[in-house]
């Protein structure tokens, strides 16, 4: 081998490429945090990933190249195929799935290091164990989150001594982890297997009781967790790119999770360990007023002659695939000189910003879409607030009724608009199971029906006024 290609030079070269990859990841994420640069941001990060992946084939002393290529091919093609064909409404669970895979991969590195016959020093063995737990929990937990959002698991499993059982499983897992650390990674094989099995079990147990409404927070939390696991395993195997990228994602994901939990006025611990939705029932008896239906003809006229309409979309709109019709309705109103805005609650949809993506898919430009803080003062000047498929996020009880389970959650003040039209499939409650007093207010009218059909009728009735 010529001196130019000595192992030391190859190693320097690999490290240099990893450095560039880490830089590209950070630049990519930075670009992704503004609408203008977002599209190129993912490309920057993608280039970083590509060069880091390719250069790793030069890593000295490796074998099993065929296995590596086969595994990349199978995993890559399966993810490509699934990622291309899922509808946008299903994106949150796909993100959960891909994220879980990353967590599982980090746990696999930990497992590899811990079953190998070697004595590790304290720092690497500790981080291998901690990263192993986090990665394994993120893996099994994300799979459960995926199964729940996909509708494979419908029930939220809850039983009385659940917290005790979960704590016990976690405690034993941690104890086994400490055992492995104390023995510097030379613990018997069955201890390592039990350790990972229990960590996986804990991920399942802790995610099963969490309701669908809380899934965005959970997915975001597991995303951050996988980042941390990757960073820790990066330390174990001495890979700076993994440390930096994992840590950046860990910190960013933690911040995102906090933002989301804050938007629901709940702590992350509360999301994970409370049985929200189980006991939360308000009764209609406490609410003054009645549900007043309206037909699409009257509702359409009301909107056609309004100066300003604010549309509040919720996940129900996406389920009914009504976003394209909503955009058609918006354009129709705009052509009549009506100001139309969209008000998005931070936790609308299944992930923060999910609703924005769904509206963007339908062609709604993002400058028509406003956040909670920006739009709330504007409701007072709106003639019509059109609520489509949203429920808890417009419930004024969150402001007014201290004994309501959702009290304190920031909401969109749709009740302040001069008129409120609620498009709703039936008289059911929202995700939280709480009765919505907005629906009973004097200036609220209920337009019953499937979201897409109702908006189509609205469009027809507005056209009829021309």
């Amino acid at each position: 081998m010529s001196p130019f290609l000595s192992p030391a030079i190859i190693d320097d070269f690999i490290q240099a490429v990893y450095f560039i990859a880490a830089l590209l990841f950070i630049i990519g994420l930075k670009r992704m945090s503004s609408p203008k640069g977002a599209k190129t941001g993912i490309v920057w990060a993608g280039v970083g990933m590509l060069i880091a992946g390719l250069i790793t084939f030069l890593w000295p002393g490796m074998h099993n190249y065929t296995l590596i290529i086969v595994a990349i091919f199978i995993g890559g093609v399966a993810a490509w195929w699934s990622g291309r064909r899922v509808p946008m409404t299903a994106m949150p669970q796909m993100v959960a799935l891909y994220n879980g895979m990353g967590g599982g991969a980090a746990a696999a590195i930990a497992a590899e290091e811990l079953i190998r016959e070697q004595t590790l020093t304290l720092a690497p063995v500790s981080l291998a164990v901690i990263g192993g737990i986090i990665g394994a929990v993120s893996f099994s937990g994300s799979l459960i989150a995926f199964a729940k959002l996909q509708g494979i698991i419908n029930k939220s499993l809850r039983y009385r001594i659940q917290q005790v059982v979960n704590s016990l499983v976690l405690l034993i897992t941690v104890a086994l982890g400490i055992w492995i650390i104390v023995l510097h990674g030379t613990a018997p094989m069955y201890v390592v297997i039990a350790f990972f099995a229990l960590a996986l079990l804990f991920g399942i147990l802790v995610t099963l009781p969490i309701g669908g409404a809380d899934m965005p927070v959970v997915i975001s939390l597991y995303n951050a967790a996988t980042g941390l696991a990757v960073a820790f395993e990066g330390f174990v195997i001495g890979n700076a790119a993994m440390i930096i990228a994992g840590m950046v994602v860990g910190a960013a994901g933690t911040l995102l999770t906090q933002l989301m939990a804050k938007a629901m006025n709940r702590s992350i611990a509360n999301v994970l360990f409370s049985n929200f939705g189980e006991t939360a029932t308000g009764s209609a008896a406490d609410i003054a007023g009645s549900l007043k239906p309206i037909d699409a003809g009257d509702a359409g006229v009301m909107m056609a002659y309004a100066n300003k309409v604010i549309i509040v979309p919720g996940y129900g709109m996406a389920v009914a695939q009504a976003q394209h019709k909503v955009w058609e309705l918006t354009q129709l109103l705009q052509n009549r000189g009506v100001t139309v805005k969209f008000a998005i609650h931070p936790v609308a949809g299944r992930m923060p910003g999910h609703m924005n993506v769904l509206l963007a898919e339908a062609g709604v430009p993002y400058d028509l879409i406003s956040d909670l803080e920006d739009i709330n003062p504007e409701f007072a000047t709106a003639d019509v607030a059109l609520i489509i498929g949203a429920n808890d996020v417009v419930n004024p009880d969150a402001r007014n009724k201290p004994d309501s389970p959702i009290y304190g959650m920031p909401i969109l003040n749709a009740d302040k608009a001069r008129n409120t039209i609620v498009i709703k499939r039936g008289q059911g409650r929202g995700f939280s199971g709480v009765e919505n007093s907005l629906f009973y207010m004097d200036n609220t009218r209920m337009l019953y029906g499937d979201g897409q059909a109702a908006v189509t009728q609205l469009i027809q009735s507005i056209k009829a006024t021309e």
Partner: protein, 101 residues
């Protein structure tokens, strides 16, 4: 190659970087960004490649293989979903002449 305290500094600085990068992001981009950061931790792929590359016996090969497979899914799935979401965003500049017509 990366020893104790140097690693600690890297951990700290990277954490602040992540926090800073995200702190000024509009809500509209939260989902694509979560998906994008999901893609970035797919870098775990290089770690699993090295792990499988150094696997000595069947047990290690199986774990390593699963690791690479999962990591590749993370990378490709993360990229595809992020790219699909971001390709949908546009401003109303195109819309304005249309609405006057």
């Amino acid at each position: 190659m990366i020893d104790g305290f140097i690693a600690l500094y890297i951990f700290m600085l990277a954490a602040f970087t992540g926090y800073e990068v995200i702190s000024r992001v509009p809500v509209i981009l939260h989902t694509p960004l979560m998906s994008g950061s999901n893609f970035v931790h797919g870098i775990v792929l290089v770690g699993t490649m090295v792990a499988l590359g150094n696997a000595q016996n069947l047990g290690e090969q199986v774990i390593g293989f699963i690791g690479v497979l999962l990591a590749a899914g993370n990378v490709v799935g993360g990229y595809v979903s992020t790219e699909r979401m971001l390709s949908m965003f546009k401003t109303s500049e195109k819309k304005k002449p249309e609405s006057r017509a």
